[in-house]
Symmetry: C2
Subunit: 358 residues, 2 copies
């Protein structure tokens, strides 16, 4: 049996686990962005027919998970466990989703790093033999985040150019210990009409540390999270003995335009090949919206940013074989509305997961 622990922070899977289904749901704004064709569902109305934004976010997460389940060809009775989290106090969206799905549930909080946290834990638990099929996921909603962390949405407050836009979106994957015959699952390629879809396995993952660069400005989330992303990527490369050009794509979660520039500089400063970094590194927060036309200032953010980009765009490009080895690194900023008032800085955390076609 292959060693399951590589170096200090990386866990390794010999064969599988497999991502046998995935789904991404986006809000109105996300559905007008450059990735619109990769969403399984785009909301006509960000309330999703609910009376509150929080209920809407919870429903978005639930529907995304049910779509991922449906696309995997599995039934709800095949699911052993749901792992998810969100940005709301006491992960309200996930908690009520889990009540409605009525499946065993472990709640997570990794701020915007939750998508890879859930994927990494789901992969370890299936590979460890504790579950056959696990639904993992994460969500965010512009209106729930805005009013919880910043200002009443109705206030229409002016945002500094560095502020990022919390995505109204969710992503979910179904992680399984068994590969499925994708040709027999009609629904997997309905949206993108993928011919001969590839299987995708989780190769390894790197668990992040909380890294504090001393940033105290809540409108500079990219700067706050970039050092954590870089720390995780560098530890990942060291633990695995790989170079960045092993990957077709290294994708951080939601550093946005400023954070992506900082991460790029830090990776190059750390000795990585500059051309390889520029060719292979990107950030979901810079991919989800049209920068100028959609007026998102610093780029996209929120758990749903990386979750929907990974589970929509990336997974489907892997299914098509356009991408074969991808390092996903969701990035989170550890702050509450209280912590900055107590003089705390905003530390970041980032977890990495490697997906490969097989």
């Amino acid at each position: 049996m292959a060693e399951k622990k590589l170096g200090k922070q990386t866990v390794n899977f010999a064969q599988g686990p497999y991502v046998i289904g995935s789904a991404a749901v986006g809000g109105e704004k996300e559905g007008e962005g450059p990735l619109k064709s990769w969403f399984d569902l785009i909301l006509d109305d960000d309330t999703f027919g609910e009376k509150t934004w929080e209920k809407a976010e919870s429903k978005i997460l639930k529907e995304t998970m049910l779509l991922a389940l449906q696309k995997s060809g599995k039934d709800k009775k095949d699911i052993d466990l749901v792992l998810s989290g969100d940005l709301l106090n006491q992960i309200m969206s996930s908690s009520f989703m889990a009540r409605d799905l009525h499946l065993p549930f472990l709640g997570l909080y990794g701020a915007c790093s939750t998508m890879t946290e859930s994927l990494l834990l789901g992969s370890m638990l299936t590979d460890g033999g504790f579950a056959h099929n696990i639904i993992v996921g994460a969500s965010s909603h512009f209106c729930t985040a805005e009013r919880q962390f910043r200002m009443p949405v109705e206030h229409g407050n002016q945002r500094p150019p560095s502020a990022q836009w919390t995505a109204t979106a969710a992503g979910s994957m179904l992680v399984s210990d068994q590969m499925v015959d994708l040709s027999k699952i009609g629904s997997v390629d309905d949206k993108q009409k993928i011919v001969n879809p590839r299987n995708i396995q989780v190769d390894c993952g790197t668990i992040g540390k909380v890294i504090d660069a001393g940033v105290k400005d809540a409108n500079q989330m990219g700067s706050a999270m970039a050092p954590a992303a870089v720390d995780t990527i560098l530890n990942h490369l060291e633990d695995t003995g790989r170079t960045i050009d092993y990957y077709d794509l290294v994708l951080t979660g939601d550093l946005g335009y400023i954070g992506k520039d900082i991460a790029t500089d830090l990776l190059i400063d750390a000795g990585l090949d500059a051309n390889a970094v520029k060719e292979r590194y990107d950030d979901c927060g810079t991919m989800l919206y049209y920068r100028e036309e959609q007026d998102v200032h610093g780029g996209g953010s929120g758990c749903g940013c990386s979750a929907s980009v990974f589970c929509g765009n990336i997974i489907n490009r892997m299914r098509k074989g356009e991408l074969n080895k991808v390092l996903l690194v969701s990035t989170g900023a550890m702050l509450s509305t209280l912590s900055p008032f107590q003089g705390e800085s905003i530390p970041g955390i980032a977890h990495g997961v490697v997906l490969e076609t097989c």
Copy 2:
């Protein structure tokens, strides 16, 4: 290899993982209760020398983890991962603890079920081969919880008799894939002077579902959580084929006096032997304080309630051989300050973990 999945919700460990260290820290009030002799550290002052209660709670959690580490005989460099959570928005106590410990970290949120959530995940990840040593834990603080969920502490609001008292406490265990020679670890029995301490292994665990009994009164947490505790216990017994008298003790987290009575009735109604239930079932929320003298109304609650009772009293009674087979079931209530205003009820969740001496 033994089957690692038993029934629908239970995971099974063939041998180990082992609880090789544990620590419990309590606040002033907890240190005056019936379990005072089981704490490793009792605070003279619930601020713990910090300027804010939130910083104090984070420090309590960190110190508890460092005590568990010290008592295990391991070094910080031996630790692969920290798993923890708390009740604060965006798990502020755990996030800043993880920043200070600077170890790989996965944040959890299970409300007051977090102690068994972290222990269960830590056990699966070590048993799965992804880590050798994991620190797990949870914390709560009366003052941080009171002002976040209820009223300004200075307001001194009157509490209804059913309201529970959030414990200022933390508990932590060190879960390892290897048993240690306890006789060589001087510190493990310093506090309780345990002669010939027993090793403790995690036998199995049951992952809970979010169960909604429709309770809407935030001063009736025990009633809200009891159905989830009972659901997990009944599923656990069904999955393992055991009866309640297999255990020396079945201990729920923080149902308090009312919730414990409800859980007792529900377990007996479900067909369990009434005498066995009354003999073997107890609740941490009824153990942590003197009911009348300490004026705690409904009993203890908070992540730190079950965490400190499990990691102090229970683990040490197991080390002594007074208890040999224990089912721990931390119980959480899924609510935020917002959810009741949106008409939501308060669903509960409970995760079970079986510890056995070996």
